[in-house]
Amino acid sequence: MDHALDITLSVNGVQVSRRVAPRVHLVDFLRDELGLTGSHIGCEHGVCGACTVRVNGEIVRGCLMLAVQADGCNVETIEGISDSGEARDLQKAFHEKNALQCGFCTPGMLMAAQDLVLKNIKPTREEIREHISGNYCRCTGYQAIVDAIEEVIQAEVVHGKG
């Protein structure tokens, strides 16, 4: 491989070391090299949000970050926040309100939603819509997604997590 570099990073809490070409973006690395196919590719221009993952605690577009830039970083994907239970409340609310249809936008949408939940604020519906306005969904019309996020945040507030 031309120009390949060795990187070591933590992915969903597990240390991984790989040799990777600089041109490979993070989501291709996660999908092809590590088999973590839960993060999806929708545009590779950074607009649709399907590839949204978390790096060092912040949501990023996996298609706009090179895998080599993730050297030394802590990367979390949908598989990670599912298995750890972090996304449980959101996933339950999404399921009950059918805040997904084909599921292709869902991992990215959950990442963006969880980012909002973690902010510990009380957003209005409009603010929820604004926060997920970088995640394209063609199926649901967005309303059920807003409903699900709203419900989780309200429950957190009631239970004193907010």
Binding site: H3, P22, V68, A112, G134
Partner: protein, 263 residues
Amino acid sequence: MKAPSFAYAKPRTLAEALELLARHGEGARILAGGQSLIPSLNMRLSSPEILIDITGLPGLNEIRSSGKSVKIGALVTHSQIEKSAEIKKHVPLLAQAVPHIAHAAIRNRGTLGGSLALADPAAEYPACAVALQATIVISNTKGERRVKAENFFQGLFETDLKQGEILTAAEFPSGGKSAFLELTRRHGDYAIIGLAAHESRCVFFNAGPRPVLVSMRKSLDETKAAAMKELDPPADLYNSSATKKHLAGVLLERAWTTLSTSH
């Protein structure tokens, strides 16, 4: 759309970075947040030989206020600017502009330096920099030089940055009244047209290849007339030049009340 092949280096010091730039010349591109560079690579719009990742350079990701001005390092992300109490207090125009930049996931990576160096006519920061009379700080092998924002932005994606130089910071004067307005079809989109105004300086963006400065006159009508004369925005896919001009006038009207009380 997979990027073409390129090499990658992550220098640990500014000197190392400048040396790499000198060595590779036009074959090198600077990588910071990558939010504009990487999509262009994915679309094969450019094929550099090597990306020089400057995110490892020390001291470039700080926000330092010193009474009269705030110095923001080139690697400060939009997200950091959004969260900064100092910027909100001392350079409110930037705080007003930043929520309009794309979406959270982009803002977590995109940098001030990257945005200024790219000089996309639709970007928010260049217009803010011109409105605030900011100073752009540039490093090269000879040391550091400073350029006034007004002179830094020279044309379509064209700045005063020379081959082999790195934008390392921008200094923004503190205080003053400001207003920021942007018209977009959808939240987070590039502006159809926007207005960054500070004191008597109204700067329109996406109204031409570089930010367009229109000074406030005594009345709204006079200012608007001056703006209509000076503005000649290029049409885009959806908006004719006449439409953009009209919208610029609307933005000016809407910002007027905020601005005129400080005039």
